[in-house]
Symmetry: C2
Subunit: 212 residues, 2 copies
Amino acid sequence: MIEKIYVTYNDVHKLCQEAAPKLLESFKPQLMIAIGGGGYVPARILRSFLKQPGSPNIPIQAIGLSLYESLPTANDKDVEEPGTKVTRTQWLDLSALGEMGNLIGKRVLIVDEVDDTRTTLEYAVKELEKDVELAREKFGGEKAEFSIFVLHNKDKQKKGVLPHDMLENGRYHAARTVGDVWICYPWEATDIDEHDRLGAEQKAAHNANQQY
Amino acid sequence: MIEKIYVTYNDVHKLCQEAAPKLLESFKPQLMIAIGGGGYVPARILRSFLKQPGSPNIPIQAIGLSLYESLPTANDKDVEEPGTKVTRTQWLDLSALGEMGNLIGKRVLIVDEVDDTRTTLEYAVKELEKDVELAREKFGGEKAEFSIFVLHNKDKQKKGVLPHDMLENGRYHAARTVGDVWICYPWEATDIDEHDRLGAEQKAAHNANQQY
């Protein structure tokens, strides 16, 4: 049976709060890219904690990437293997970003809730780097530097690959590393009080070995 | 002294959960547009509760509208007066939406956390309607129908104006209507446990007259 872990909203809030000073020290992001839907909540919370006095909020661009769903079909055999294909449901707004020109030379933090198979993150990094390269061919300028923040990294065999220098140079930050468990995020709970109760129960049980 | 109300994450979750069946019954949204950053959290939660068995998730497009901030510029003197101007920090992704063609004839739910002066919502509705009209000139087809969901509407003099038929035909849904108070959303809390404690205290005090 797959172990389930129950993550409460306040857990998510505190994971972001805990990570923000580290991210500010190591990477100083200038722009966040939230991978929707899972990245929306942590990105919004992170924005609060990344704000520096006297500076405006760090802008967030949302992108929509979907791995686990396909359109419903009459014949279920047509459904894609889960996790085999990334679909863009939204990409960056070129006009607001000055035709990507504004990505050039920027420190960009990609935010998602979970690094599971890594397929989505690989896709996001590759495609964003491609966009920046196209912009640089047009406008010149420095490379953009991408980093990643996720609430949870699952310690498992990954299908997706991230650039070595990202993993080695502290540009990959998972607030927690967990096993290959089923993570129940609060925004999917149909009974949030029961969800919190289960979360509190787990925290009490795992107290000596807190992992989420 | 302005009254503050403390809204917890679980309050937000329950407001969305409570609203979803009403939205499904009255409006049946086919697409959500989340106004970032405040709309990100309610939009993500709503998505869970708007999902129908056997159907895919309702897609979310995020747009970024800013009333109180401006993008960081080399020249800080460019900073706008707060609340006087809406700045787009992200707009719809035209390519993913098929050059807006996919908005034609759709029931679109615009999601934000609060309807304060209504300036941002007026801007969003007007600009989205304009985009759909441009798309219809090109492709033909039905008008899109817009509706609004906010967690809180402040009962105050509004600067922005929404279409009459939106307000009259149940296409405006505020989970709660409050006075002109200072709403403390959880994603801005620097101490979330204290925030929750204050929220619980208020709930106990206002128990007979629950308004949030």
